[in-house]
Amino acid sequence: MPSFLFAAGASTQLEGGFKLGPAIILITILCVFVLVGIIFRAKDTTDFYAAGRSISRVGSGMAIASNWMSAASFLGMAAIMYGSGYHGLAYVVGWTGGYVLLLILMAGQIRKYGKYTAADFIGDRYYSKGLRATGAIIAILISISYCVGQFGGIGLMFKWILGIDYAIAVIIGGSVVLVYTLISGMLGVTKNMQIQYVIIIISFLIPLFILTFKFDYFWLLPQIGYGSVVSDIVSGIPIAETTQMFNALGHEYAMVPAPEFAMPWDSATGQTFFQWMAIAFSLMVGTAGLPHVIQRFYVVPKARDARWSVVWGLFFICILYWSAPVYSAFGKILSANPEVGKLSKDAIVVYTAQLGGINPLIVGLLAAGGVSAAFSTVSGLLVAGASAFSHDLYVKVLYPEASPKKQLLMARVGTVVMAIIVTAIALLKLGLIAQLVAVAFSLAGCTIFPLFLLGIWWSGSNKQGAIAGLIAGGLVSLIAITYFVAGVKGVDLPASAFVAKWLGAWFFAWIGAPLAILVNIVVSLITPETPIEIRKFLVQNVHS
């Protein structure tokens, strides 16, 4: 089909080579991160795991937001909406709505329980070393799965800024984030997260004001002003006869009607009503089961602070989530001309700013913001994974006598091993950033979420029930992920169409989470009661 081929399409022009301005911005920001990490570095294991419990609730809210606003939020959400329209809003709703569950059902109680890590809680509440070890392994798997998407985002942005190959970009970016996490630990990470939040949100918002102003929409509040952009996409934009507007490539600001961008579960997107609901639900329960999110509640002084930090965190997160769809809407119009060619969806935020003719330095800041978003999350994830490895597996299960120095060393070894594994998987490019991250959410929703939910709210849930529920949730996860990887690798497994439709990798928690809860309840009811000490602790310490 020669008509669609370009020797060098506009997308290649947008990609370009090495970009000095953006590179300087990125390097400066990274230097600031490392510097702050050094100044506020972890002095001992308590600092490394839980930042000495010295973070204020607004500060913790910012850290929650920064920790949360990953490459999936910064780059991935706009990518999903750019490609699938209204379907992408399932991710927006899922990734914010889950905080309501987290707050009402867990935040304060988790802090009152007073542990360091998710596995700590599981091992203690279900009085089982085996479950503690399993919880730690699941936490590591979730962290790895979550990090893969982030490393992909880091790779894309490093590729864009440095003009280098994706694989090399992933390796360089991964190395930098690893060094930073090793130097700083969580105290540095928490301080950095507050700085990162400011950089992320400023870099994300500035281009939106410019775009809405430049293309003549209500620019004072782009998060509302883009409503008319969405309506324009639906009705189509005629070629203006008088005051013409153009994208950076000289194409008219015009497009044919594209109602599929805004209409629900449109056949053109290939997405269904069921998928919308299943994704939103899975992301919500996943949010309430993510170890690195739960772990944030251990770093605030009191349960009340844990609760209010969720409110602040969610508000800070929503500022970005109200804004991400603006990029997808403008991206849709500015890349409407076929001459623009096929753009990498995961980089559509940056391409939209470029196509909008925004100053290259501001686009560079935007790309650096994308890197910061990925960095802030990856560092939190690596700390959570390393904590699970050193604290929950090494110290609590294997070597209880290990010295604090040895513990810290093992945390750092765990961080390095995880970073290597994540880099290797990220190089495979298994899917879009948001989709890869959604796998981690479903996994958390099927495994950790039921254990926490029942562990806090029902003293009847016992070790046997937890094991059975974990097996049920784990099996659903295993089936869904196996079919996903097999599909990507071109291996045809039996009933693959059925599994893809009902048990997709981004939404298998819709059935996995309720099933794990149900199995946990049934088995708990027919097995010996939870020990009195645990129940007493729940009554006196967690629910008092």
Binding site: Y99, E252, V256, P259, A262, K302, R304, L314
Partner: protein, 250 residues
Amino acid sequence: MDSNQNDYHISFFKPTTALAKWNRNLAIKLILIWAVAVFGFQFLLRLIEKPTPENAYVKYEQVWENISTENASIEEMQTFAHTSLSVLGKLIIKPDQKVSLSNALSWVTYQLADSLQKESLFNQTKDLEKIRSEITSISDPVYLEAKNALSNLANSILGLQKTDPRRLIVALSLVSNDMEVFKAENKALVPTIMSTYLIHNQSILTDTKFLGFPFHYFYTAVFLLILFVFLCWLYCYRVDKKNVELDIEE
């Protein structure tokens, strides 16, 4: 021992203290609001939606029978070309479906051209394809000149209005090798392609405008997030107030 053991039970649905009961009721109320607001609204959207065709689809339906039997008038062929362009202009179209529609567009444009235009149309399309495969920038003056020439010719054949955005994609959608024959396999795919891309799920909730947005879009993308923050704030506020009332120090 037994009585002691019975004193220590926690169940969300069977709270044993007044505070626990209060907390349970608050949680249930907020979660109900949350669930109905998120999932209830999507169910409502699903319930009242109707497959609604774009104008382009309505026009396509009027002419397709004659196009498929190759008995169409000039106006009908122009209409068919316009509707094909309405789909070709969508970013979301799949590559294989784009090939089929490009064949349809190229063929119908060629049929509409008079004998003099036919040769120019074919040659200019071929030239543009060649230039496109060689250029390193879409600002290349030779490319721009060839594209504009073909665009002017094709738009005059198709009778597209000056402000019609479909004018912008005609030259890039024509394929020289597809002009003489509308391949049977491509013809067979056209009805499915048209219904896939030109019929949408719409209702009063999608057609009503609010602050410039289609209402359902505003509700999901903007309002729900405000609601989530509000529900979280309300929960914290109520719990704090209760703790002060009961003089509870956490």
